[in-house]
Amino acid sequence: MRFLGVFLLALAGLAASYLAVVRLVDARAALGDPLKPRLFPTVVINSRTEKMRLFQTCRQAGEIPGLVLGSSRAMKLKPADLDRDTGLRFFNFAVDSACGEDYLAIYRWAVAQGARPKLLLLGLDIEALHDNDTLDERLEQNGPLLAALGADGPAPPRGWQSLVRKLGRWKATLTLDYWRDTRRAVNAWMHAPPTERIFSRLEPDSYLRYPKWEWERAAGRFDLAQRIEASCPEYIERFAGMRSLSPRRKVLLEKLISEARTRGTEVTIYISTLHPVVAQRLEQKTQYHDLLLATRQYLADLKARYGIAGFDFSAPEQFGGSLTGWYDGAHLDESNLTLLQARLLGGRP
């Protein structure tokens, strides 16, 4: 059994070394305290943790009375443009794949940091109210946001559950992709990667850039049709199994509106946009059509009950947008966003 003993000991040592490196580099910003500065750059942006850190930095420079919430589809709303158009200093707190609970958690966390928003813009994705009620793992792993959610979030895991969850988080790092990301982070730390290799980057004011796509566009290598086509399966997957708007997530969204209104915050919600090609494909493969109608109805209901401003921008023609001003089938480019923003801010009461 000595051979086996050496094998297991070596394996344990190797695994421990691997995990130590992965933890130190933390290439996806998923393992340590999200608010502590890290030595190595993040190569797969965890927008929740990145934006929390940026928010704290921005707060030091003064009040932030304007807040954007939403998913990656709202992440390109430019704080500088919003500042200019509203006269309020804005922070874009939209995060990837945000759902009802993310909006509330982020809002509460921002308020707990001392923010007193006067204007809240929320880009509402239909699937943010998915009735599967599954928490995004990046929220699940974010202690401060979960704490902000409090009793409105999942019960904190105890005992074995907690241990299994922690082990699961470490186990998730034992993949080839994670190792590649770790290597990329170390490489990026040693010498900055060329622009065409950086997929996304957050500016200090929370504005999202897509350096790779911007570079491809400038070089004439950007194939929008192919990007839109590639978006279809992803969004079909997102809408898969969604039959109705989640009552639980609706409650969370309404809590956000109530809490904001109580603090005197003006709330504006718009249904976010999908490219007509993606929307058409979703209509064929999912309940998208019915869900869009339900979301429109729900937004009208929210407007009536809470006196908020609401817009249906589910299709680009609703804000005068084009079919070419896109990065893919769900993400508007700057030209379309300028139009959307103008309609959004111009249409407020």
């Binding site: 000595r2 051979f3 034992l174 080839l176």
Partner: protein, 456 residues
């Protein structure tokens, strides 16, 4: 439960392994291996444990009855009973719907209902285990096992239960008799070595090349000639590394419990003819078909025509054993024809240089995998047409697949089979295996894919 799953690697295997070596008594070890194997099997669907139990109990009981029976007719009766039951179970669960659908196609007026039958995993393998056992008892090649759990250990041993190798009782009888022995350092080293190399073959090589060849195969109709060949070659290597990887892992697991699982592959892509190929590919199946089907049919003892007929029957049934689909029947028939042609050609092939025989055999085998991989005969036909340059497909293979195929082509021709390796058993090698395991695990944890032969 898959060998390449966390539950197996980090819970099932360590617990069973630890308990096995803590327990000393033979009976306890039999019981442990039986119970754990049923847990392993029931992990997919516990209901099928009853089927395995029925098949095992029947063959266990009838083997004893065969041995005790004095009259040959009585022996034959019990043999007939158990083989019939085994084949009836296999026939119903695996082939009933295929039969019903085929009858509907050829005789539309006949209304045989198509049933919702879930194929019990591994049924083809353990059915062959039990049949070979009772036939061997009948023929006097082995004595019937009187220890129920010893027999259950043989039939249900988790290392070879669901995808082979098809182990015969006599091949591991001695190990089972001495299962109460102490652990041997060399066995542990071989066990870890075989298991780790098998895991690498599966999760790095087979799954790696499949990630490039599968998308190509999915668009078989639009492939150009090069793309069609690359897709076929990709699958050729995928199935080899997948199945031989599984077999290596089974062998490794066997060693960890002191059981010698027989060799299942021996550099099949270096074969110098169809017959040579079947001596090297899935050896446990081909030798089973030879010993329990081809030879009882008469083998080559009754002249050229009967030999060819026996070959055809054996290979057609061998093809059908793989699955209830006409593609497998045609695949088996194709190999049957190759074997017949080789037999008819006789010594005349000896004048062809070895490298040429190897190359031709390899190409013929690659073509056969197209039949094997295709979802139906229509797909196989179109794919083969694309390989022949017929059609106006434009999809070609990417550089990654070409690189994989090139490397593996060199590998299978130059690197000896794992059974011919001089396995390191020193502690330094334990560290090497640990590094290899970690690398394989990083690949494995990125995606979970079942072994190809689980479907058979």
């Amino acid at each position: 439960m898959l060998f390449n799953s966390n539950i197996f690697l980090f819970l099932f295997l360590p617990v069973v392994f630890g308990l096995f070596w803590v327990l000393r008594a033979k009976a306890h070890r039999y019981l442990l291996l039986t119970v754990s194997s049923f847990i392993f099997y029931g992990w997919w669907n516990w209901k099928f444990c009853f089927l395995l139990l029925l098949s095992s109990l029947t063959s266990y009981g009838t083997a004893i009855l065969i041995e005790r029976a004095a009259a040959p007719a009585r022996k034959r009766f019990w043999l007939g009973c158990t083989v019939s039951l085994d084949l009836a179970l296999l026939g119903f669960f695996k082939y009933y719907n295929f039969f019903a659908a085929s009858v509907r196609t050829f005789a539309p007026g006949t209304a045989l209902p198509v049933l919702e039958i879930v194929l019990p995993i591994g049924i083809s393998f353990y059915t062959f285990h039990t049949i070979s056992y009772v036939v061997d008892v009948y023929a006097g090649r082995v004595r019937a096992a009187y220890s129920l759990f010893e027999y259950f250990t043989y039939v249900s041993l988790f290392s070879q239960l669901v995808a082979g190798p098809i182990v015969r009782f006599r091949q591991i009888e001695r190990d089972l008799e001495h299962i109460d022995g102490s652990p041997q350092e060399k066995h542990m080293a071989l066990g870890v070595g075989f298991f780790v190399v098998g895991l690498i073959k599966k999760v790095i090589v087979a799954d790696g090349i499949a990630s490039y060849s599968d998308p190509l195969i999915a668009s078989y109709a639009t492939l150009n000639m090069g793309g069609a060949w690359m897709a076929a070659l990709g699958y050729t290597f995928q199935i080899y590394f997948d199945f031989s990887g599984y077999s290596d892992m089974a062998v490794g697991l066997g060693y960890l419990f002191g059981i010698h699982i027989p060799q299942n592959f021996d550099q099949p892509y270096q074969a110098a003819g169809p017959r040579d190929f079947w001596r090297r590919w899935h050896i446990s199946l081909s030798s089973w078909l030879r010993d329990y089907l081809y030879i009882p049919l008469g083998g080559n003892r009754y002249g050229g025509f009967r030999t060819c007929l026996n070959l055809a029957i054996t290979m057609l049934l061998g093809g059908l054993w793989h699955g209830a689909n006409w593609t497998f029947v045609v695949w088996g028939g194709y190999h049957g024809v190759l074997l017949m042609v080789e037999r008819l050609a006789g010594d005349r092939l000896a004048v062809v240089p070895l490298w040429a025989r190897r190359a031709v055999t390899f190409v013929l085998v690659v073509i056969s995998w197209v039949l094997f991989r295709s979802a139906n005969l229509g797909m196989a036909w179109v794919w083969l047409q694309r390989m022949a340059g017929i059609g106006n497909g434009t999809t070609g293979a990417g550089g990654n697949l070409v690189a994989w195929v090139t490397v593996l082509l060199i590998f299978v021709n130059l690197v000896p089979d794992t059974w011919h390796w001089r396995w390191g058993t020193s502690r330094r090698w334990a560290v090497v295996y640990a590094v290899c395991f970690l690398i394989a695990y990083l690949h494995m944890n990125s995606r979970t894919s079942p072994f190809l032969y689980y479907q058979f």
